[in-house]
Amino acid sequence: MPVENIAPPTKERIAYLEGLVAQARTAAAVFTQYTQEDVDRIVKPMVLAGLAQAQHLARLAVEETRLGVMEDKAIKNMVATEFVYNYVKDKRTVGPIREFPESGLVEVAEPIGVIFSLTPITNPTSTVLFKCIMAIKTRNAMVFSPHPNAWRCCAETMRIMYEAAVKHGAPEGVFTCVESPTLEDNAYLMKHKDVRLIDATGGRGASRAAYSSGKPALGVGSGNTPVYLEKTAELDMAVVDIITSKTFDNGTICASEQTVVIDDEIYDRALKKFADLGVHICNEAETELLGHTVIDPLKGQMQPMAVGQKAIDIARMIGLRVKPNTKLLIAPIKGVGREYPLSVEKLFPVLAVCRAHSVDEALKLCVDVNHLGGLGHTAVIFSRNDEIIGKFSEAMNAGRIIVNSPGAIGALGGVYNDLVPTFSFGCGTGGGNSTMDNVNVYHYLNIKRVARRTPAHMWFRIPDQIYFDMNAVEHLRDFASRSTLIVTNAALEQMGHLDIVRRNIPAQTLVRVLAIPDAEPEVKVVMQGVEALNSYAVDQIVALGGGSVIDAAKIMKLKYEFPEADLDELAAPFLDIRKRVVRFPTVKTNHARLIAIPTTSGTGSEVTPFAVLTDKVRGRKVTLADYSLSPDVAIVDPQFVMSMPKGLTADTGIDCLTHALEAGVSTHASVYTDANAMQAIRLVFKYLPIAYENPHDEEARSMVHNAACIAALAFSNASVGVNHALAHAFGARFGVAHGRANALMLPHVIAYNASVPTKFRPSPNQRAYVAPKKYAMIADLLGLGGHTVDEKVKNLIAAIEQLLDQLAVPRSIADLGISKEEFERAIPDLAKIAFDDPSWGSNPRMPLIGELVELFWSAYHGRSPAKAASAPVEPEVEVCV
């Protein structure tokens, strides 16, 4: 019955109950001061006291309850003390109990406080012994409410435990026991504000009442244990184990066997063996009689008069003639369910058996028993067939699946197996319980987890080999290949670049050329390339071109080496590359070396792990990112960029500068990426204006080409930021070249990142908001002057604006001829697309949609952020560069 429906006790009774709880509360509070050593000093003498009184307490229990077998109860008392002690003695239950140095976690035990404990009539003294030891080991106080018909033996057990505990230092009042407990008392205590946990061991009613109180509860209850006696079982052992278990304490342990499903092949032999060992096998009439008398026909539950009685007494009760030494009654039944009364739980030595003609039928019968009041509790199988044991384990919903051993004693743990010793069986949600475990000390603790900050390990991954400077293409001769495919475009072929490459490939190599359009690669183009790779059995790909050509070659290689690779799936978004859900394949079908030779100085695709693919059929872009996409070799030879037109030089150069600046302030920046980012920035500022003004200046071209590659090494590992997210959205919508789109956003993004963020984003590797200081450091590197971080940031923005002017890059979106109205219409979509762009994932400042809108408008108007930048923060930290 829910506790809400139970009337409160009288005022006098409430005062009495309040007194018990107050004592327990004080004891629990005082107990919090105890150390592990204090606790362990108390537990051992308690256990010894319990062991010394095991027989005495067993006798008291049988005398009072008239249930069970004194000798068996004595064994239970010994298990509840000795076995439980053996399990808990070395367990840490105070302070730090477990440490995981590699993950920076420490588990710290916190006692619960006052536990209200209901104990059953079937295992009264053993349960009290068990709970007393657990409570002291965990520094909790316990108020006991034993079953009324087992009160005296429980109170005596508690007294023995209490005296031993207090004698050895436990706080006074640590155990109290409700005298003559009633339902009203229990309901009152279950709802009491100072009771922190209810541990209700007993029938389903106690368990349900506990949970209905709204308090945290360990309500564990009844079972209905199915047993599968499979044809490969060691039959002699199985029969003895089942008899041992089902007759132990006259079957009062709720994990004991209830219905044995026996394979047809061994059914008759099994029954004969049972009969030979003193078991009475009932005939049909006897089974029917038994079913109608020991099971309540209305409730479909066992009759209390039979619980814990001997087999011969039960036989006598119903007028059954059995031999005087009969220890168990076996009742063959033809099915499971309400129409077969004996298929329910029977906490007395009556066992139902059922014949099965196949494994499938046997498993189904066991499932039926399991679901007839036994969900979550215990199931038993005797078999030597591991496959069938596996199937049985999957089919049963039971916290304890006992294999080739007695159910009752097996479930108690520690005797026949290594289950945790317990007198309280959690039955999981199937049994309406909060746990499926053998209840143990850890259920009597609040376990606190101390989690130290663990910065993620960083990385710096780059291609195996990078060759650079004029005529570096000659290194192609170092690479042996049977069959090489050069992926390029028609324009480069006309410019003579393809011939230069061909001349440097060893003569014995069979070379084919695939010219693809000079645009973002399409799926169709990539698949044509894969076809060529397969038909020529290629072992080397040379990608000669800008970012599009190199990206195409990366994806061709991926599909060639891993034909099953699903590009859509591989493009799944991720927050942290190390934790991504979809992993790139690793077992290759084909092998091909990818050598990338860039013909522009901007994207850095020759060293990056990224590739963009356009799926025109589905109207979408697919961005792939994985270090397996990085080319094996990069040849950064400036002879291929000497003829770049001025506009392309400016756009790609600014793309390179954006890569370096964004990598520099990224939340994934490291001392390794900083080294590259800063050098790239320095090279761009020094050489890009020269390369722009004097395209034939070899040194300037070479240094800008190197800068693009170096910046790419930085952003391959630190990623980019919100500038790229804005540029991707804007560039795609208005058909503006990537580098130019980046340039339009760049000064505004720096001002934005350098100001105090509206919202900080989680980034465990960042110990402070360092973006402003890093911009200031870049300004120092460039010798831009300034005394404060604020001044230096403004000087950096001004220097970038000056560079953009030098390169004749439009300074506002309006300058591109885009009307304000058109831009206004586009803004909502642009902001959404930019927000969905993964590029800003490592931006130092988390962009809000409204801020993205503001940034777009700033870029539209092009007002100088060098003059408008708000005051940046000045973090008090050192930054590594």
Binding site: Q23, R25, T26, A27, A28, A29, V30, T32, Q33, G113, P171, E172, G173
Partner: protein, 79 residues
């Protein structure tokens, strides 16, 4: 000196106290149920005499016990 003895001293001083009695518990590392009872008694007596009791130097473990038995509102805990 035990916690109980300290509390007994404080009880004795309540009569002569004007407005506040301070009790230095900095040497107390652990209290038992009887000390808690004595503190309850002290708080009750102080209430009757309208005297405030300040517990000084209370160790955090002891403070936690007082918190669990809901005694903290009845005392002040100067830093």
């Amino acid at each position: 000196m035990t916690a109980n003895e300290l509390i007994a001293q404080a009880l004795a001083k309540l009569d002569g106290a004007s407005r506040e009695v301070a009790l230095d518990l900095s040497s107390v590392r652990r209290i038992d149920p009887s000390a808690i009872g004595a503190l309850e008694k002290l708080a009750g007596a102080a209430d009757e005499k309208a005297v405030k009791v300040a517990l000084r130097g209370v160790h955090v473990d002891v403070y936690k016990v007082l918190k669990l038995v809901k005694l903290t509102p009845r005392f002040s805990f100067p830093a």
